[in-house]
Symmetry: C2
Subunit: 314 residues, 2 copies
C-alpha cells in the first residue's frame, strides 16, 4: 500500500510540476496538493498488480482517475457553495467561480489525455464519468424533494461515489489484461466498498466522535440532509406511528435538537440497521475478492484497504 | 453543403431524442435545438468526403465536435453572465448556474463518448480542447489588463475560436485516412478561416449594419472590449500622438461616444487595415486548399463555405 502510494505521489508530483503557469492550471496543482488519501489511484495500481500487470503501466490511468475525481470536487464545491475543502479554501473561494469552472473543465480534458486511447478503458471511464454527473444531479434533485426513498438514495450514492471506485479497479484490471469475469468481480468489489464507505460516512455524522471526525456531530441531521439514516428513520417512524424526526425536520435548522434526533435514530433501531447494512455490503464486496483469489494471498492489501475504509472512525 | 447539413441535423436529432429525461440532459437538447449554423460538424463531414471517405463514417466525430462546442457555450455563458444565446435564455438563466455547470460537464463526457477511441482523433481533440480552455482563460485575463498586444490577442482568438475549426476539419480528414501533410493543410485552412472569421466579427461590431447584425453598433467599443480594432487603434494613436480612443476609454462606459470612436478607428486607417488582414488570412487559408486540390473541383463547397463565413454581413 505504501509503495503504491509513493509510486503514485511521485507521478502526480511530476505531472503538477510540468503544468504551465497561470490561472488555468494553478488551481489543479493547488487542489492536488491538499492532503488526500488517494484511494482511487491506489486501487487502480493494486488491481493492475493483482491481475499480473506491472503497476507502473497503470500510472497514467491512475492519474486520469485522480484528475477526474478532483475535477468533480472543484465543480461540486461551486455547486455546494462550500468554502473549505480538506481544511483549506476551495478553488472558487481562493480564486473565483469562473476560474473554478474553467480550470475544472480543463482538468477533465487532461484526465482524458492521461487516460489514453485504449477502447476498453475509455468505455469504462466514459460510462462511469457520466454516472458520476448523473449522481450529482440526483443529489441536487433530492434537496428539493421530501419523498426520497431508500432505494433512490442508494442509487444516488452508487452513481456519485461507488462507481468511480469500481472504475478505478476495473481500469487497473484492464491494463493487466484481466478477463471480463475478473473485471466484473473487481468492479463489484469496488462498488460494494464504495456503498459501504458512504453509508459509514452517514453513520459517522450522527454517531461518530466529533473529536475524531473533526466535524460537528449530527451536522447532516441539523441541515435536514437526506442521508440513509434520516430516510430510513422517517420510514420506521411512520411504521411505528411516532414522529420525533418528522417534528424536528418541520422546525428551522437553527431550532432543531440534534441530540434528540440522534437518540430517536438509535431508539428506532436505525443505527443498528445501518451498521448491519455496512457489514452486509462489505461482506458482499469481500466475497468478490474471494472469487478472484480463494487463498487470499494476492488480495491481502486490497482487503486491508477496504476494511480500513469501511471501519474508519473519521 | 445542404446535404451535409441535413445529414448532420438528422444525426443530432436522433441523439437528442435518445436523451433521458431530467435536468442533467434537458439543457443539452435545449441548447442544441437553438438555431445555429453548425459550421464545425459540417466541416468535419466535408473534410472526410474531400479525402475520399464516406461522410456518414464521420457523423459521430462531427457530433462530438458540436457537443464540445455547445459545452463551451454553456459554460462560457455562465462566465460571461450572458442572459441570451441566439435570442433565447441561456441555460443558466433558464435553469440555474449549478445545472449549467453540471449539464456542461456531462456534455463534455458525452462528446468524448461520441468521439470514439481512434488514437489520432483523440490526440487532436485533446490538444485542441485544452487550447480552447486556455483561450477562454486568456480572454478573461485580458479583461483585467490594459496592455494587451496584437499578437497576444491573435493567439487568444486562435486558441478560443480557430483551433476548433482546425480540429473539426482534421478529424474529418483522419476519418478518411488522409496523410499527415494533407491533415496539416486542411487544419491550416481551418485555422486561417477561424482567425479571419473572428476578425470579421470584430469589424462587424464597429462597421456592420445594426439592421443586419441585430446588435448595437459598437457594443464592444462601448464596453471597452479589447478587440483587434481597439488594440490596433490604440497602437496607431500612440504612433500618431493622438488620443481620441484613449480619452473615450478613460470615461465610464455610459458616457462613451461610440460614433466618435468609430470615426477615429476609420480615420486612423484601422478599419482598412483590419479588412486587409481578413483578406490576407483568408488568402493564406485558401492557399492551403489549393495545395490539396489544385483544380479546385473537390473543394468548391469548402471554399464557398469559407467565403460565406469571412464575407458575411451578420
Amino acid at each position: 500500500m505504501r509503495t503504491y502510494r509513493a509510486l503514485f505521489d511521485a507521478h502526480v508530483e511530476r505531472w503538477s510540476n510540468g503544468l504551465p503557469a497561470g490561472d488555468l492550471h494553478a488551481p489543479m496543482a493547488y487542489l492536488l496538493a491538499l492532503p488526500a488519501k488517494r484511494v482511487r489511484p491506489v486501487l487502480t495500481l493494486m488491481a493492475c498488480e493483482l491481475f499480473g500487470g506491472d503497476p507502473r503501466t497503470a500510472l497514467d490511468q491512475a492519474l486520469a482517475i485522480e484528475l477526474f475525481h478532483n475535477f468533480t470536487l472543484m465543480h461540486d464545491d461551486i455547486m455546494d457553495a462550500a468554502p473549505l475543502r480538506r481544511g483549506q479554501p476551495t478553488v472558487h473561494a481562493r480564486w473565483n467561480v469562473n476560474t473554478a469552472i474553467l480550470s475544472g473543465d480543463a482538468m477533465l480534458v487532461m484526465a482524458y489525455t492521461a487516460l489514453g486511447p485504449d477502447p476498453n478503458v475509455l468505455a469504462v471511464f466514459n460510462r462511469h464519468a457520466l454516472e458520476v454527473c448523473a449522481g450529482q444531479q440526483l443529489d441536487m434533485d433530492f434537496e428539493q424533494r421530501d419523498d426520497v426513498g431508500l432505494s433512490e438514495y442508494k442509487e444516488m450514492i452508487r452513481m456519485k461515489t461507488a462507481v468511480l471506485l469500481a472504475a478505478a479497479l476495473r481500469i487497473g484490471a484492464i491494463r493487466a489484461g484481466a478477463g471480463e469475469a475478473d473485471q466484473e468481480r473487481i468492479a463489484g468489489f469496488g462498488e460494494g466498498v464504495g456503498l459501504a464507505f458512504q453509508l459509514r460516512d452517514d453513520l459517522l455524522d450522527a454517531f461518530g466522535d466529533p473529536a475524531v471526525t473533526g466535524k460537528e456531530q449530527g451536522g447532516d441531521l441539523r441541515n435536514g440532509k437526506k442521508t440513509w439514516l434520516l430516510i430510513r428513520g422517517l420510514e420506521v417512524e411512520r411504521e411505528h406511528g411516532s414522529s420525533v424526526l418528522r417534528e424536528q425536520l418541520a422546525m428551522d435548522a437553527s431550532e432543531r435538537d440534534v441530540a434528540t434526533m440522534i437518540t430517536a435514530l438509535r431508539e428506532l433501531g436505525v443505527e443498528q440497521e445501518a451498521q448491519a447494512e455496512v457489514e452486509r455490503l462489505a461482506g458482499t464486496a469481500l466475497d468478490q475478492l474471494h472469487l478472484i483469489d480463494p487463498n487470499g494471498d494476492r488480495t491481502a492489501a486490497l482487503r486491508a484497504l477496504a476494511v480500513s475504509l469501511i471501519e474508519r472512525a473519521a
